[in-house]
């Protein structure tokens, strides 16, 4: 049985900004269902009293002084990879 519907697959694709053809969506439905079926075994594990671990270094609130550090990279170099720029800024298509 599928864990996700085709509609859910297409909704996920929209959230992730990916376009799926009907055939791709069917294949993705099968594969996502299989993977979710596999990972669902975690539901049977007793984790009462345990907190989740989001990072393993034990570091807390690493800060540095608020000053400009020279990395030797210019704005022009950073913008050189952008597909479209104008007057030293990134240029994007219309939003609406």
């Amino acid at each position: 049985m599928s864990k996700v519907t085709i509609e859910e697959v297409q909704a996920l694709a929209r959230l992730a900004k990916i376009t799926l053809s009907d055939a791709q969506a069917v294949r993705m439905q099968e594969e996502i269902s299989a993977i979710l079926g596999f990972v669902e075994q975690l539901n049977t594990v007793d984790t009462k009293g345990l907190e989740p671990t989001y990072q393993v270094t034990g570091l807390m609130n690493v800060t540095r002084s608020d000053e400009v550090i020279e990395y030797g990279v210019t704005p022009a170099q950073l913008l050189a990879n952008a597909p479209a720029t104008q007057d030293g800024s990134l240029k994007v298509k219309r939003v609406l």
């Binding site: 900004k17 993705m28 984790t47 990279v73």
Partner: protein, 472 residues
Amino acid sequence: MDIRTSRIIPIVEAVKSGNSSARKEVEAAFARIEATAAYHAVLEVVKDRALQRADEIDRAIAAGATPGRLAGVPFIVKDNILTLGSNTTAASNILRDFKAPYQATVIDRLEAEGAIVVAKANLDSFGHGSSTENSDFGVTLNAHDQTRVPGGSSGGSTTAIALELTPFALGTDTGGSIRQPSSFSGVLGLKPTYGAVSRFGAVAMASSTDTIGPITSSAYDAALVLEIMGGQDERDGTSIQIPMETLPLDVTGLRVGVIKQYMDEGVQPEVKARVAAAVDRLGAAGATISEVDVPSLALALPAYYIIIPAELSSNLARYDGIKYGHVAEDAKDLSEQYSQTRTEGFNSENIRRIMIGTYVLSSGYFDAYYRKAQTVRTLIINEFSNAFKTVDMLVGPVAPTTAFKIGENTTDPLQMYLADVMTVGISLAGLPAASVPVGTADGLPVGMQVVGPQRADMKVLALAGEIMKEAA
């Protein structure tokens, strides 16, 4: 660690003494890369910058400057680590023409000691895979059998070292991507303690387990490279300083635990036999061997395939066709440009993982999947901590099989994920672990995994060196 096994030291000595030069070493590496092009270990040769740097080093030495500890040593870098003088593609169409405006901390530090990047190595696109078959630019072949995969995702780097193209290469390991291909390719690969090596300038996959590590053919060389490129870095707020002294390791009395969960019936008998023989040799050399139970390791793979897609779906959101990378040509508005750019630029494994990550992070599912998986992660970490109360080091296989055939696992994503079943738990716990060559089965290399407590990276390499000495 045994300096006689080093392939770095002879080059540095020859360059220092004038018997060779940085230029000669770089040109020799180019020739080896060209002669082995059929293996497709390399995506791009870094010609101009490498020769320019080699000449600078030769001129400095001629002028009497003190040569660096890696003077004139060529090396190869997995193509998800930013380098100047070449593209950095992550083996993805979406970054096909990307030229980094700055380079990774690890590259800066290795260059400061005189090492020279000569080529960028192939990988599964963005590190998504265990075979290099998910590279958008074609598969890399196994150095020991051209019909088989080298493992992945750092398969280009491990084939490069197995073919002896350079003395060392860099890989990245998020869930096994240095260790598993090192095992399949018969080389030494170290996944350092999480944070021990700066991630600044590495293309992010899953930020809570991503690491950069050395791939070599000797423990001495791995330790040298780790010492130079590792340590705290102000440009990576998650980096830490670990002990970098290389101490001689006495195997006598060393408490070595064999991970019970990794020696079960799911492991190919020949792989189990090679690992068991290496364990026996350690016992004969004076180590105390015991079996160690880490029961929750069986849950590591399902936890990993929730946590990692979640993190990578967030990290890959930056590929939107605005700041850098591929951009769709004829989108009518911004939203369509995002979708077209990403649909054209990502391959099906990238998309599968992004979709899973989006699913487990969506409201309503977050607690059931993501939070649950991170709590299981705590369980695994606690069990490892307990294990290291009774043993100094843990060992087991790296992967359940030797290198598989090209195409053998490409139809079923879950089958491919199983190639990482013995490496992902260690990644979730942030522990240092090496894949150490311990012989072959039917001509294919077998690796043994050596796992230490956090920050014991040098001890892991010292034991790796002892194991390789015994196996020789």
